[in-house]
Structure formats: C-alpha cells, structure tokens
C-alpha cells in the first residue's frame, strides 16, 4: 500500500517547512521533507507560502554592488545557450518517492537491509553528518526498540503503518518527535512497516539492544 493524496493525516510542522524553505534543514531531515512533499500538495502549498516570505525578504533587505563587468560576463555565459530542456518528469512509479530512491539507488527492492535485532532491519543513507537518515523495516506486529533521542526525530511511513503512544501513522504520514518524547512504534499486524527516519543525534535505545552495541551497529 502506498500513500495517496488525501489519506495523509500527519504533516510536516511549520518549523520543519520554514527551515526547509530557508535551506537550513540538515540534509537528512530535508530528505524526509522532500519525500513527504512529493506526496502532499497541502504541504507543498504551505512550503510555497514560506518561500514567498523568503522572496519578500530578498526584495526588502539590502543590496551589494556588483562588479562593473558582471552583467557582460553573465551575458557571455548565457548568450547562445539554449534553455535547459524540460526535465524528464521525476515522478515515482514505485513505492519510494523519487528524492528517496535517488539516495537508495532504486526502489524498495534495491534497499540493502542490515539486521539490527528483533527482526528489525535498517539501511543508513549517506547524507551530510549533521543528522542521520535511515530506512527501517519493522516486521508486522513487531516493535522498534523503545528509545529516547537527544534531538529531533522525523519519521515518515513509506508502506504499512505503525502506532505509538502518540497516534497511528500510515503511508505518507510524518511523526515529528522532540527530545522529550519517549515512544515505541509498533508495526500494525498484517504487513511489515517500512519507514524513513531522520535523527539529529544518536538514538538512545532503552532496551533490546545493549547500550555498548549501539555505536558498533551505527544506531
């Protein structure tokens, strides 16, 4: 089951969208944002509104004089160049939204899972090191180890669904958890839950995985 427009109940927060529009969101979080935005016109429109503030700010705050020859130099760059071709529509036919399949190198069948215990599997994606993005595979009815986090955590469901102390999250939904939230997502029975999670500091698991193992397996 994949997300369809209109079934999404949990959206990106204003803080996340504002930071994405300002270009200050660490890459791992930006990946979650771009994945959700691919499926959600509501958030795409909210992003457009925040970007409008960026545009208005650009208009209203200051100028810096350009060098004398800068216009001529730029004209020389563009003169005779055709416009960029219309980009081939980047629209996903699979389960993963395009921004995510760009990082995975393909759709779900291209994910290189590694076990992290209890049937849970993960693939850490290569992003800037301010934050970490990983795909998680939670078998039907199983739980992700209970954990707290030192920073923010954004989790987006790609297929299946999970529930935790906060609510139920289905395909396309994003859960935004701050450091005070201690939660234990449990995949719904019937199908495994695949999600994308970004954290801005190491997850701290409270059970299941011995603390010492944490650094070794990369959680």
């Amino acid at each position: 089951m994949t997300a369809t427009m209109g079934t999404i109940r949990h959206h990106l927060t204003d803080e996340t969208l504002l930071a994405y529009s300002a270009g200050t969101l660490p890459e791992a979080f930006a990946l979650v944002a771009a994945s959700h935005l691919s499926l959600c016109d509501e958030c795409r429109a909210r992003l457009g509104a925040f970007e409008a503030v960026g545009g208005a700010t650009l208009t209203s705050v200051g100028t810096a004089e350009m060098g004398d020859a800068s216009l001529e130099r730029t004209l020389a760059m563009i003169r005779g160049t055709p416009g960029d071709p219309d980009p081939a529509p980047r629209r996903s036919a699979g389960t993963l939204p395009i921004p995510l399949s760009d990082y995975v190198g393909g759709d779900v069948d291209a994910i290189r899972w590694r076990p992290v215990g209890g049937g849970v599997r993960q693939m850490v994606l290569k992003t800037g090191d301010e934050a970490t993005a990983r795909l998680l595979y939670i078998p039907a009815g199983e739980a992700v180890p209970e954990h707290t986090h030192g920073g923010m955590e954004l989790t987006m469901v790609l297929s299946g669904a999970f529930s935790d102390e906060v609510d139920r999250f289905g395909p396309g939904d994003v859960e935004t958890a701050d450091p005070t939230i201690q939660h234990q997502p449990i995949a719904e029975p019937g199908a495994p839950c695949i999600c994308l999670a970004a954290t801005d500091s190491r997850l701290r698991f409270r059970s299941w995985i011995p603390r010492l193992l944490g650094p070794i397996i990369g959680i």
């Binding site: 427009m5 927060t13 803080e15 504002l18 930071a19 529009s21 300002a22 270009g23 200050t24 969101l25 660490p26 890459e27 979080f29 930006a30 944002a33 771009a34 994945s35 935005l37 016109d41 795409r44 429109a45 509104a49 970007e51 409008a52 503030v53 960026g54 545009g55 208005a56 700010t57 650009l58 208009t59 705050v61 200051g62 100028t63 810096a64 350009m66 060098g67 800068s70 216009l71 130099r73 730029t74 004209l75 760059m77 563009i78 003169r79 416009g83 960029d84 219309d86 980009p87 529509p89 980047r90 629209r91 939204p97 395009i98 921004p99 990082y103 992003t127 800037g128 920073g151 923010m152």
Partner: protein, 182 residues
C-alpha cells in the same frame, strides 16, 4: 515610482520575454534589479564578496536557462529567484545536496490561468507590505532565518503574516495542475 504590484507584473513580463524571445534587454533589467540583492543575500549567508559575485552570476544565468519553468501562478519572480539563490547557497556554502520533491512539470501546454497569476502578484505585494509593517525585531528575525543565520532549531514559525491566502492560491494552482495532468 511604480507600485510593487506593477513592478511584479513587470518582472513576470520580463521572464516571459526571456522565455519566448531570448530578450537580453529584459535580462539586463532583471539583472540590475535582482543581482545586487542576491549578492547581498549570499554575503550575509557567509560568502566573501568574490564568491558571492560569482554565485550571483550563476544564479542569474540559471534564471535565463530555466525561464520556461517559472510558474507565475505559484510564486512571484522574487520568490523564484530566492529559491534559486538558496539552492546555490546550499551547494556552495553548505556543501550539501538538497533533496528536492518530485516535479510538477509546467510546460507551455499548461499555461497558467491569468486570474491566478494576477492574484498571486497581489498576494506577493500584500505579503511584502505586511513584512514592511512588522516591528523591527521581528523583521530582523525573519531576515536572519532566511539568510541562513539561524539554525533549523532556532527558527520559530512566524505568525500574523498573510500566508493563509498565499497557501490557498498555490493549493488551487496545484489542484488545477494535477487535474490537467490527469
């Protein structure tokens, strides 16, 4: 001095002239207005003057090459240029990739509705006025957020700006686009 509204209408026309006629005079006018603003933006984001100048030229050249992709029913010209400059800043200054959402293609076959374009221009002007009327402290905070001087956790969403109508306008344009794409 023309009002901001007619200025924006004007800039949309410039982009159109670049798209249809490869009009260098239109480009030069856009350049004279926006390049110093983009350069100031990049300097405030941490670039030295030489790097900012070089990146600004890239940003303006991008505008030329992508003029056919600008959708005036979804953004003002200033907003579009802001997003190009922001992406360049992420590339060059933050040295990160920026994951982008899937595209909603907008070619000539999906010519935007003229009423939507005018409504967006009016909203952009209203937003500009509302920002100009903010207390100095809040205006500074906004500028710092968009100029990359605040980390993502320091950014708090501003309220009181007329963003709801802009959001609804863009939403409407997206709905039409989805409909047109079937």
């Amino acid at each position: 001095m023309p009002s901001a509204e007619t200025m924006e209408e004007n800039w949309v026309g410039h982009i159109r002239r670049i798209h249809h006629d490869k009009d260098e005079a239109a480009f030069a006018e856009l350049f004279r207005h926006f390049a110093p603003r983009v350069k100031a933006f990049l300097i405030r984001s941490g670039a030295d003057a030489a790097l900012a100048e070089e990146c600004t030229q890239d940003v303006m050249a991008t505008l030329w090459r992508k003029a056919h992709m600008f959708d005036p029913s979804r953004a003002s010209v200033a907003t579009w240029i802001y997003t190009i400059a922001r992406n360049r800043r992420i590339d060059v200054l933050r040295r990160q990739r920026r994951p982008e959402p899937e595209d909603l293609p907008w070619g000539p076959e999906h010519e935007p509705d003229q009423a939507d374009v005018i409504a967006m221009q009016q909203e952009a002007e209203r937003l500009g006025q509302a920002i100009a009327e903010l207390p100095q402290k809040q205006r500074d905070l906004l500028a710092r957020a968009f100029y990359g001087e605040l980390s993502h956790s320091e950014i708090a969403a501003e309220t009181g700006l007329p963003l709801g109508t802009i959001k609804s306008r863009i939403r409407l344009a997206l709905d039409r686009l989805r409909h047109a794409m079937g």
